[in-house]
């Protein structure tokens, strides 16, 4: 083994700095899943009966389904009866939710994660909904947003205060029958974020949800629903972390986006769930369904994701381009280091005339990591004059990791164009030496080269988060080459 390969192997010794556990009193439902558990969750959340019924329908459907085994990932059978489906930090008192009421331990947790929730300390121009285990613990800047008619709150509150909106849109993009994990989520989802931007309103600040898994042996099943009404625009960001634990934990979320005519939604994710240790023990199974519908003419949905964490990532943020001239975008960076496995990509379904989509995927594999891009571009017969551009690049660090691409392209009319470019590169010893020769350490060189490789994607992130994501990329690959 040459020196460079050896040093590349050492690269797997990464550190996860969000791995601490917060001591809070939690209300945890005992492990196991049946109709009574679903009724209990629904009851705890004081839900209307239509929602309880919807959950139960989802559950009954889920029981007829099997885990998907087509992704290029391997994991032992999950015992769905061993998972607790609801964990909530106990509230100190009842009544309207305000920051004073949030357990100081939890506030401190978010502080430690770099997400201060006290508004005066919050990054200017970012409103945060903090989801701790199964429930939303705080949402900032709500008043300011509500002056513009923007609703930004936890999913549970939305069910209570805006039932019509929830009822109209819930499951309208990702039906409860969609896939195994989406169905499970529909049955047991606990909380998440809800956002509605009214006609013609440009949301003046970044909205963000920060997800934290804390409790052990629980799954996190949150649901996000975001609606941009005609001509509205919004930029939304989610971040995720979890403690280091030896067991795997399941995270099966659903995100639904709806863009009406002329609306624009930008949805960015910086996913840094605990990836497990170097030998592949522990870590989050991140099985997520994200989909956006460009319902109206000239609407636009843009997904940007930086996926550095999780033991397994299985997600395909997609766009259904129904409105004529609507636009879908997917910009992705996925890292698979140590024993991480990532199977991620997107689906662009072109239905309206003259619809356009862009896919830029950057996969980075290191250690024994396995990274797959899986994408579908479907241009239906009616979607005349549509275009897709796909660029799919893989970078390998070391020779034990793998990169795979599975592009599926279906073009069903003659006037549309699809372009696909793909490349695989190895991080070059020449590149590293060149950096070294200019005084840059190998670790910094890797971070520099990887960030350069991901530049087009990072450029899509809101400024503050781009910096954060860059650091994260450096950290998640620390020690891969040394």
């Amino acid at each position: 083994m040459d020196a460079a390969t050896k040093t590349i192997e050492e690269f797997a010794g990464q550190e996860y700095k969000y791995g601490f556990v917060t001591e809070v009193d939690s209300d945890v439902v005992p492990p196991g899943l049946d109709e009574s558990v679903i009724r209990l969750i629904s009851e705890k959340k004081e839900e209307p009966s239509w929602l309880t019924q919807w959950r139960l329908r989802a559950y009954r459907h889920w029981r007829t389904m099997a885990e998907p085994r087509w992704p290029k990932v391997h994991f032992p059978k999950i015992d769905y009866q061993a998972i607790s489906y609801y964990a909530a930090p106990k509230k100190k008192s009842e009544g309207p939710k305000s920051l004073e009421e949030v357990d100081p331990e939890i506030l401190a947790t978010y502080e430690k994660l770099g997400i201060p929730l006290k508004e005066q300390e919050v990054l200017a121009g970012v409103a945060v909904d903090a989801v701790f285990d199964s429930v939303s613990v705080a949402t900032t800047f709500r008043e300011k947003l509500s002056e513009l008619g923007i609703i930004f709150c936890s999913f549970s509150e939305a069910v209570k205060e805006h039932p019509d909106l929830v009822r109209e849109y819930l499951g309208s993009v990702v039906p409860y029958t969609d896939n195994f994990f989406a169905s499970l989520n529909s049955a047991v989802f606990s909380d998440g974020s809800f956002c509605y931007v009214p006609k013609g309103v440009q949301c003046p600040m970044e909205l963000s949800t920060y997800f934290r898994i804390n409790a052990a042996n629980t799954g996190q099943f949150e649901r996000t629903l975001l609606i941009a009404d005609e001509g509205a625009s919004v930029s939304y960001l989610e971040g995720c972390t979890a403690p280091m634990r030896d067991e795997n934990q399941l995270h099966a979320a659903v995100v639904e986006l709806v863009a009406l005519a002329g609306a624009k939604i930008k949805y960015s994710t910086v996913q840094n769930w605990y990836p497990g240790d170097a030998s592949g023990r522990g870590g989050i199974y991140n099985f997520v369904t994200k989909r956006g519908a460009c319902r109206g003419e000239a609407s636009k949905i843009s997904w940007t994701q930086v996926e550095t964490g999780s033991a397994i990532t299985w997600k395909y943020p997609s766009c259904i381009l129904q409105g004529d001239g609507s636009i879908g975008e997917f910009y992705s960076v996925a890292v698979a280091n140590s024993r991480q496995q990532a199977d991620t990509g997107t689906k662009m379904i072109h239905i309206g005339k003259g619809t356009r989509s862009t896919i830029v995927s950057k996969g980075i594999s290191a250690g024994y990591g396995q990274n797959s891009y899986r994408g579908l571009v479907r241009i239906t017969p009616k979607a005349t004059g549509s275009r897709n551009f796909t660029q799919c690049d893989s970078m390998l660090l070391g020779d034990k990791c793998g990169a795979h691409t599975f592009p599926y392209i279906e073009v069903q009319n003659d006037s549309s164009q699809v372009e696909h470019e793909a490349s695989t590169s190895k991080i070059g010893e020449d590149q590293i030496f060149y950096c070294n020769q200019r005084g840059i350490s190998t670790e910094d060189a890797v971070s520099l080269i990887v960030n350069g490789f991901c530049k087009e994607v990072l450029a899509e992130l809101p400024m503050e988060f781009a910096v954060e994501a860059q650091k994260l990329l450096g950290i998640s690959l620390e020690g891969s080459v040394g």
């Binding site: 010893e429 200019r438 005084g439 840059i440 190998t442 910094d444 350069g452």
Partner: protein, 251 residues
């Protein structure tokens, strides 16, 4: 004394390429190294800069009295060794300014000097760009990506100017330069010459040495320095080729 190479043997995967090099470079000097293709010039440059694939099997190298071979490539850079690459490497997506500032600041940090912020760096970079008559636009472009052959070489000298090394090693920086660029690059190098630094200039052509006047010219043949002389040696080689030296060496 800036550089002392004694009986240096180095090779790759068991094949010896450098077969006993002795070379001493004093402060203020410029040494030219000439020699046919494959004689080991780039290998020597690479060994000095710390390229990992070469294995040193014998001999020693002192840089200002310190054991150079024990240092990592970045430590050598910090100590003041600069290599202008024969084939500069592309780094897609990383702009030249950011790249060089990262390098400069790592070096400054290791020397206990204050790091330069983006603005101060820009000032310095602008000044040095003038030296090689390069446009500021290059700072925003990805390192070496899409640069023409000549631009890459000038960009190397620009970097050298910013990092201001104690020992600048130029590996065929003149290859691929047009006549004007050759002059510009040579003038750039000359302006960096001082009493307390030195240059090792690898070249195939005497042309460059008309502009950068060397104190000593060495001929490297099959991993050994077979002849050293004044700048006339370069002229003689240009006129005669390597045949006579090769014959002499095999006798």
């Amino acid at each position: 004394m800036i550089l002392e190479i004694r009986n240096l043997h180095a090779g790759i995967e068991g094949t010896e390429i450098l077969k006993g090099i002795d070379l001493t470079v004093k402060a203020g000097e410029v040494h030219a190294i000439m020699g046919p293709n494959g004689s080991g010039k780039s290998t020597l440059a690479g060994v000095l800069a710390g390229r990992e694939e070469y294995e040193v099997t014998e001999g020693e190298v002192l840089f200002r009295g310190e054991n150079l071979l024990e240092m990592s490539p970045e430590e050598r850079a910090a100590a003041g060794v600069f290599l202008a690459f024969q084939y500069p490497v592309e780094i897609p997506g990383v702009n030249s300014a950011y790249f060089l500032r990262t390098g400069l600041n790592s070096i400054r940090k290791s020397r206990g000097e204050e790091e330069l912020d983006a603005l101060d760096f820009l000032k310095l970079a602008r000044e040095k760009l003038k030296l090689v008559q390069m446009d500021e636009a290059f700072l925003k472009r990805s390192v070496n990506e899409g640069f023409s052959g000549g631009e890459k070489k000038r960009h190397e000298i620009f970097q050298m100017a910013v990092l201001d090394p104690v020992l600048g090693i130029l590996d065929e920086t003149d290859s691929g330069l047009d006549i004007d660029a050759l002059r510009i690059v040579a003038a750039g190098v000359n302006s960096l010459r001082r009493a307390d630094n030195a240059f090792l200039v690898v070249t195939h052509y005497q042309r460059l040495l008309n502009h950068i006047i060397p104190d000593v010219v060495h001929v490297l043949l099959d991993g050994r320095i077979v002849q050293s002389g004044g700048k006339e040696l370069a002229l003689q080689l240009e006129a005669e080729g390597y045949d006579r030296i090769k014959q002499a060496a095999t006798v």
